[in-house]
Amino acid sequence: MTVIAPPAARVQQPTTRSGGRGGSIMWMALPALLVFGAFGVIPLIGVLALSFTTWDGIGTIQPSGLASWGAALGDPALPHALLVTFEIMALSWLVQTPLSILIGVFIAARTRYRSVLAVLYFIPLLLSSTAISITYKALLDPNFGIGTGLGLDILNQDWLGEPRLAMGVLVFVVSWQFIPFHSLIYQGAVRQIPSSLYEASQIDGAGRLRQFFSITLPQLKYTIITSSTLMVVGSLTFFDLIYVLTAGGPGDATRALALEMYQTGFMANLMGPASVIAVILVLVGLLLAQLLRRLSGRGDESQLEGM
C-alpha cells in the first residue's frame, strides 16, 4: 500500500498564528526587561544625574552643573587609567585569543583523553576572581612565595612591584582564568563545522595546517567576534582581580578605569567625578561593542554558501 502525503499540508500556515506568537514573545521578554530596567537603566540614569552634582557620599547632594565633569576630565589620572584599561584589554586579547582557539580546536576532537583534559582544564572557571588573586598574590610574594618554596631564585622577582612585571602578571592571571571559558566557546564552534568541508579538502590534498588556516579559522569568524566582544567588554569591568592582586599599583601602573572610579568615589569620597568616570566607562563599553558588531559585517551573510 502506498500512501501519498497531501502536498497542501506543508504550506498551511495560518497568518493569525504568527501575530499571536509575536504578542506572547513580548510578554516573555517582560521579566528580563523589568530586571534590566530596574538594575541596569535606572542606576545608569542615577549615575548620569550624579555626574552633574557634588556629593561626598554622606552629606546632601549638591547640583553643581559641569564642575564634576571638569574635575574628572582635567585630572591626568583619567587618560592614564584609560590607557591602562586599553593596555590590559589589548594584551589580554592578544594572549587569550590564539591560545583559546588552539585549545578549543584541540579539545573539540572526540577523543576520550582530550575530554578528560578538557574537564580538568575548566577548573579555573569555577573559582572566584578574588580567590584566584589571593592565591597568586601568595605564590608571587617575593620573600615567601613559590620561588622560595621551590628553591628557584629566578622566580623570586618583584612580581607586583615592577610596573611592567605587574602588568604581565595581571594579563597572565586574567588569561589563566578566562582562556578555559573562551576555549569552550571555540570547542563548540569547531564541532559545528561540517566534516564534509574537511573531507573535501582532504581529497584535494590539504594537510592539517592548511585545513586549519583555510577551513577552521574562516569558519570560526563569528565565534572569534563573539569571544572578542566578551573579552574586550569584559576587560573593562575587571575590578576584583586587579583590586586584590595589585590594588592598582605599583604606583598607578595597573590602575584601570574601574579602579580609578572606585578610588575616586569610595576612597576619596568624590561621588561626582566618580560618576563621570562611570559614564565614560559605559560609553567606552557601548562604543567597543558597537564597533565589534560592525566588524562582524552583515548578520545574514552565510558561511556555508554553496553547501
Partner: protein, 439 residues
C-alpha cells in the same frame, strides 16, 4: 489612591511587620519595651579588638537589663565603605566607631554626629580619665564630637635582636646610625627594613616620623590647618629626598612594593630574621607574639621610639600613630538610644575590665594611670615603653591619612606610593599635595 501607592504601602507595612516581629523575638524580648529602644553599635571585627568590644557590650547589657546595645562587627576595609553608605542612606547605627580626624570631620560636616562638648563639660570625671592627647582627633572646629576609646597605638621601631647579634651591630641611637646600619645588613644579605609597601599607609609612617624629626610637628599642623602651599616647606623636600635615598640605598626589603601588610608578610620578614628592623604600629607586638614563634617570649624582639635626626628640629619625644579610636553618637538616633550610648560611655568603656582587656591583648588602654596594671602584665616591658611614649610625647600626632579628609588622604597615599616607586620626584610630590590642601 492609585495602584502603585497601594502596592508600596502594602509592601511597607509588610516589612514593618517583619521588622517588628524580629524586634520582639530578640534575646531581650519579654521586657516591657522589647527591642525597640535598643541602641546599635558598629565596629571592627578581628583581633585584638573584637573580643574586648564584645565583652564590653555584654557587660553593659548584663548590668542594664532594661536597656540593650546591639553590636555588629565588620572587617576593617568593609567597614569603611559600609558606614559611609549607611550614613548616607540614613541607616547608620546609634554609635559610630571611627578613627577620628578627617573621617570624623566629614561626618560632622554632614550633620551625622552629635556635639559632645557639653556632655564632657558636665561629665568631667569621664574626660579626666582619658589621655588628653587623644581628644585632638575627636575635636572638629573646637568642639568634641567623639569619645576617645580603646587603646593608643603609636608607631614603634621594632628590631630583631638576633639579627643584630648575628651581624654584630648595635641598635640605632640616631638617624645617622640607621644610615650606617643599612650597608652593614645589606652586606650580610639581610634586608635592613621590612616594609609592606603595597598597603601604602605603611610607607606613610616613614614620611610622618622623618618629617617630624627633621622639621618639627608644625609643618604638618599647617597642612592640617589648610594653609595654602603648606607642603612647600623646605623640610618636606628634605624629608622626601631622604626617603628616596633610602629606597635607592636598598634600605627596604627587595620587592617591598609586592608585600602587603594585610597578610602580615611584613611582620613575617622581621620574625624570620629576613629583615632586621621594621617601623610599624604598636599593634605589631601582638602579631609578633602570636605568629613569630618565640621571638617575644625569648626577648629577641626589640622596640623603641624612632631615633632623632642629627640637627633636626623635631622633639625626639614626639610620636605619631593612632591616639585612640573614637565613638560618636548619631544625630539620627532617638533620645532613648542616645541615653544608652552616654551611659555606655560613662560606665563600661572606662571601667577596670575594659582597661584589663586591652592590656591583656598587648595594648595600652586610653585610660590614664593604667601603668599600675601594666606592671603586672606579662608584656609589662613593651607596654611600659608604649605607655611612656604615649604619655611623655610632647606631640602625639595623628596618622596623616586619618587626620586629613578622605579626598586629601587618597591623593596622599597615591603620591606616597609613587614616591617610593621613584615614579615622581620630591618636587612633583609637593606640587600634587599642595593641590589638595583644604579639600
Amino acid at each position: 489612591m492609585n495602584r502603585r501607592d497601594f502596592l508600596s504601602l502594602s509592601v511597607g507595612t509588610g516589612a514593618a511587620t517583619i521588622l517588628a516581629a524580629c524586634g520582639s523575638s530578640g534575646p531581650s524580648g519579654g521586657g516591657t519595651s522589647g527591642g525597640e529602644g535598643a541602641a546599635t553599635y558598629w565596629s571592627l571585627s578581628g583581633l585584638p579588638g573584637e573580643p574586648i568590644r564584645r565583652a564590653a557590650i555584654d557587660r553593659f547589657n548584663n548590668a542594664n537589663p532594661d536597656t540593650r546595645i546591639e553590636a555588629t562587627f565588620f572587617q576593617n576595609d568593609a567597614y569603611k565603605q559600609k558606614i559611609k553608605t549607611a550614613l548616607g542612606a540614613g541607616e547608620g547605627p546609634s554609635m559610630i566607631w571611627s578613627w577620628g580626624g578627617g573621617g570624623l570631620k566629614s561626618y560632622v560636616e554632614a550633620g551625622q554626629v552629635q556635639d559632645l562638648t557639653e556632655w564632657f563639660d558636665q561629665n568631667t570625671a569621664v574626660a579626666d580619665k582619658i589621655f588628653p592627647s587623644s581628644f585632638g582627633a575627636a575635636t572638629v572646629n573646637g568642639k568634641i564630637y567623639a569619645m576617645p576609646v580603646e587603646s593608643v597605638t603609636p608607631i614603634v621601631l621594632f628590631y630583631n635582636k638576633r639579627v643584630f647579634e648575628q651581624v654584630g651591630v648595635l641598635p640605632p641611637q640616631t638617624y645617622g646610625d640607621i644610615l650606617d646600619l643599612i650597608p652593614a645588613f645589606n652586606a650580610k644579605g639581610i634586608a635592613p627594613f621590612s616594609l609592606g609597601g603595597q598597603s601604602r599607609w605603611t610607607n606613610m609612617m616613614w614620611l610622618e616620623l622623618l618629617l617630624d624629626r627633621t622639621a618639627g610637628s608644625e609643618v604638618f599642623d599647617r597642612v592640617f590647618a589648610g594653609e595654602a602651599n603648606a607642603w612647600s616647606d623646605p623640610g618636606v623636600l628634605d624629608m622626601l629626598t631622604k626617603i628616596q635615598d633610602l629606597v635607592k640605598g636598598n634600605a627596604f626589603v627587595k620587592g617591598f612594593s609586592s608585600v602587603t601588610a594585610d597578610s602580615n608578610a611584613d611582620q613575617a620578614l622581621l620574625y624570620t630574621g629576613k629583615a632586621a628592623m621594621m617601623l610599624h604600629g604598636s599593634w605589631s607586638y601582638g602579631i609578633q607574639k602570636a605568629d613569630g614563634g618565640d621571638i617575644v617570649s625569648s626577648g629577641a624582639l626589640g622596640y623603641m621610639n624612632f631615633p632623632p635626626v642629627d640637627g633636626g628640629k623635631g622633639d625626639p619625644s614626639n610620636t605619631v600613630g593612632n591616639p585612640g579610636q573614637y565613638l560618636s553618637i548619631s544625630t539620627k538616633s532617638t533620645t532613648a538610644q542616645q541615653d544608652i550610648a552616654k551611659k555606655f560611655f560613662s560606665t563600661t568603656l572606662i571601667d577596670d575590665e575594659e582597661v584589663k582587656g586591652w592590656i591583656t591583648s598587648g595594648n595600652v588602654p586610653i585610660i590614664k594611670g593604667s601603668d599600675a596594671q601594666i606592671a603586672s602584665s606579662p608584656d609589662a616591658d613593651f607596654l611600659k615603653v608604649v605607655y611612656d611614649m604615649s604619655s611623655n610625647a610632647k606631640i602625639f600626632a595623628q596618622s596623616w591619612d586619618q587626620a586629613l579628609s578622605p579626598t586629601a588622604a587618597e591623593t596622599l597615599l597615591d603620591n606616597i606610593a609613587k614616591l617610593f616607586q621613584l615614579q615622581i620626584n620630591p618636587q612633583q610630590w609637593v606640587d600634587a599635595m599642595n593641590g589638595v590642601i583644604g579639600k
